[in-house]
Amino acid sequence: MTRLALVALAGGLGSVLRWALAERLRHGLLVANLVGSLVLGVVVGSVDPGTARTVLAVGLCGGFTTFSGVALDRRRLVVNVAVSLAAAALGLALAR
């Protein structure tokens, strides 16, 4: 129950950060997906399973990044997926 509350809180925070980026930058969602995927790669590669990892991964990174926000435009989705895959790979590599 505590874990769900923390995940929800982190998800709300991540969503607000994503919204703030999108309001300020033309490619704000791409930046959010890039940074969020990089951070998640580091988290998955370096933090042991537990509440902290779940809150950071599912809550913060999950709430910060978005799929639905970029899915309405095919080219935009492909670019976002490609950039996120590369960012996550870099994050996983950095965590080793």
Binding site: V7, S15, G41, S68, G69, L85
Partner: protein, 134 residues
Amino acid sequence: MACIYAPPRVEHATTTSSPRWPPIVAVALGGAVGTSVRYAAATAAPVAIGRFPWTTLALNVVGALLAGVAVGRVGRWAPLVVTGFLGGLTTMSALAVEADVLFRDGHHGLALAYVAASTAGGVAAALLGLRAGR
């Protein structure tokens, strides 16, 4: 088949009316709920390491479908429903890391299939949603 004599929609007239709460509150609330639903789904249907990430795929495709339906319809509720709830329900970071880990662990076919299904499924779902929401 959609009725071609449907009355004109009025959302555009109401879009500019001031929301009851600041957008930041709506985004935070919607994001918290969307993230909670995603967490509940991931807990209810966990995907083992080395297996196809069905749960994330389903959440992302459903989120894309609902985004297609919602865009242009929800007016001043967009910060709560689209940016917050659907943004929090779907995730790009999990998709990227799951695909990379599958690939890294030698499950090349699964990784490629996962990325292809997510991309094609997301585009198809969004188009379907746009059509249904029209």
